[in-house]
Subunit: 187 residues, 2 copies
DNA sequence: TGTAGCATGTAAGCCGTTACATGATTGA
DNA sequence: TCAATCATGTAACGGCTTACATGCTACA
């Protein structure tokens, strides 16, 4: 016999589990708050879902019983707040301990355009590289701010490892930009 | 008045343009060959499209007049071969010279699971990191083979820059794996 | 009182995948 | 001749985005 509560819907996507996982950092959130948290965490290693996608993902997670939904009526609009349910936590733990993990997926338009440099001529990649460099510097500053806020507290142990991973990655990208610029005969 | 030939369909997606770009490396290809080429080039900086997606993308590109299609009937099955058309080349050039290039998108399940290490406990990330290390080593060997085949010929100038970018990235990932393992108290 | 930003959603539709079906070719 | 691999697609569907619609709140 089945002692689990009946739930409906499919297995969550990886993004679904990722969002579920964020509830381990903060017990209760609205969709908006979850999106904000995703933009300070997930974003650095997993494409941040659009606002509207966060809402629809939460709807599905609620339908599957993995998060508990509290509806608050305020005037003409209802607000919802969510927290991880017991079965949500065990689903998350199960997902984390299960199976193979795929190789990271990358969609790197900068490198794509560099790769096609023979078609566009070298001026275009140089400009793109320049723009990418600025974006990277902004990202690095953003991530450094977050990383500094974590400190060395054991509570943020994993987050700190991940933040340092991200910093190392962005620094490597900066190096690759410099190397490519040099080889393109750039400044 | 419009001097361009009439074509139908939407603007290609980035993946569409990426595939179009591969015809600058090899004049004429079947869908199968295009997929093989993508797996030796694109794959390292842009998620490689599934075989079936390559076929449907080619169909769309042909419909839009960006590639020319030659149909060959052999027995009960027709084969198709493709080459870049004149308007395909100018569409590619236009796309390459146009506009803003977004920040690279990453879907890194390894880091995601590391990030959630507090939920799973440290043993699981350690195992995942170990597996990732092996995958990275295989990738590096694969890319090194390709890179060595390029040599220093000016013809492969851009490809060589991109291959070296990839190698640098994978080496950095290996460093991050080692750092994370250390901090997890691992071997 | 009006406007900018906070907040919550729905609808349409593309992008891309997996599963499936099937044919052709090569070598054991 | 059987199996493996090369090769070509179709169908169904999920994931995720953009565009749009709307309400709420603070403050100038």
């Amino acid at each position: 016999m089945n002692t689990m509560p009946a739930v409906s819907g499919q297995d969550p996507s990886v993004t679904g589990y990722a969002l579920l996982g964020l509830f381990s950092l903060r017990e209760e959130m609205s969709g908006y708050e979850l999106k904000q948290l995703a933009d300070r965490t997930l974003k650095f290693f997993w494409t941040a879902p659009a606002m509207s996608h966060v809402y629809s993902e939460l709807k599905q997670l609620a339908k599957a019983g993995l998060v508990e939904e509290t509806v608050i009526q305020t005037g003409a609009r209802r607000r919802r707040r969510y927290r991880l349910s017991a079965s949500g936590r065990s689903a998350l733990e199960g997902w984390l301990s299960f199976g193979e993990v795929g190789f990271p997926g990358l969609k790197h338009e900068v490198v794509l355009r560099l790769f096609l440099g023979a078609v566009s001529g070298p001026a275009r990649p140089r400009g793109i590289l320049e723009g990418y460099k600025h974006q990277l510097e902004r990202r690095i500053a953003e991530l450094r701010g977050i990383r500094d806020g974590l400190g060395e507290a054991p509570h943020y142990r994993y987050a700190a490892i991940v933040a340092d991973w991200g910093m190392r990655y962005y620094r490597e990208e900066l190096e690759s930009v410099a190397d490519a610029n040099e080889r393109l005969g750039g400044p």
